[in-house]
Symmetry: C2
Subunit: 218 residues, 2 copies
């Protein structure tokens, strides 16, 4: 896959070896991590709202209530920064200065627009559900026109994107390696727990494989 | 503890039962989750940068390289939105519309300023380290003047803050509870793995209790 072109917004000025602009790296992080933070501006004030994103091709999507301030703002076509980041571990060095974290992050810039047609919205929501829990959509009580009306779905062409990744052990100053302190990595990861039945679940409804086999937290 | 006053920036317009403005709730989330996203604006363009925050009293801090674009921007006293959010689980309902996520989030507004004195910076960095790994600071190779110079630490008085929390099972439309599909919660959590020794760790240096007992990911 081709690269996104680094710009003044996305070109890394420091630790440039941690940066990547290729679609494969950017997409792998977006696809592994639905949890994202959307930045937008109202009257000069930045806002950062957590939500879930999903991707199709060069486009990311997110959604929510039509009454959401975030969605009412971004659907007007203002500049948006959408950031995904994981915390993959604490990196403990021999000096405070070389402590770090392992992570994968993507920062995307673009302009969002609201999906307008009911069919278009429903299709996008189905893609989200099917990416998270394949096969679940058709098992659900069908969506109503009123629900689609109450839901805003926005899509954003990825105009610019940069990934940043750190992995591996601490990198200490050469003269510090003999310092008598533990050094290494304390890994962290988003993991899934055992599914919890709704207390009102009817008897005998099993947990489906698309839940037990969920891949976005393991 | 007293409450933060809801304002036009922080007052929830929807799902207001999920909102909280009391310091106890806001602080509990900030203290449990160092991973945060800092939003700021350059020439009308929002940026969202992931980093680690820590708190003392009514003030949050974060830090990084003095060359960081994010830090060079926010230390000039521009408006900042700092958001912390966890993904505590996927909430699977009988209809697509009532699907949700469980989460804890805090959105903070304020104006950051850079700490200027070397002593002040070192003291703040020690607080960060000691909150994460109690006792580690004094075991490290001491910080140098050059390292402090290369590090920017910013502090931000919490002018306004709002927490938002969702917990518990899905809430379906009453007529949908009989629908034949599994419903419930798939919990997710940031968990810690087994510490990984630095390949260059000297023989016989044990993993300290402040690493094995780390509380920010469990």
């Amino acid at each position: 896959m081709s690269d996104f072109t680094p710009t003044t917004r996305t070109k890394l000025k420091r630790n440039y070896k941690r940066g990547a602009y290729d679609r494969e790296t950017v997409y792998a992080i977006l696809d592994a991590v639905p949890h994202c933070h959307v930045g937008y501006v109202i009257d000069g004030q930045p806002y950062v709202t957590p939500t879930l994103q999903w991707r199709e091709g060069d486009r990311v999507y997110w959604h929510g209530s039509s009454a959401s301030r975030m969605l009412r703002t971004v659907e007007t076509g203002v500049p948006v920064c959408l950031t995904v980041s994981t915390l993959d571990g604490y990196v403990l060095a021999r000096s405070a200065f070389h402590h770090s974290v392992n992570y994968r992050s993507v920062m995307i810039f673009g302009t969002a627009h609201a999906l307008t047609g009911a069919d278009e919205k429903e299709a996008a929501l189905k893609v989200m559900m099917e990416q998270l829990f394949p096969g679940r959509w058709d098992a659900l009580r069908p969506v109503t026109a009123q629900e689609l009306k109450a839901t805003t779905v926005v899509g954003m062409e990825i105009e610019e994107a940069a990934a940043k990744i750190r992995t591996g052990p601490p990198v200490d100053d050469e003269e510090d390696y003999g310092w008598d302190v533990w050094a290494g990595v304390l890994p962290t990861a988003l993991t899934k727990g055992a599914p919890i039945d709704d207390p009102r679940l009817e008897d005998g409804v099993p947990v489906p494989e698309n839940v037990t086999g969920f891949r976005r937290a393991e």
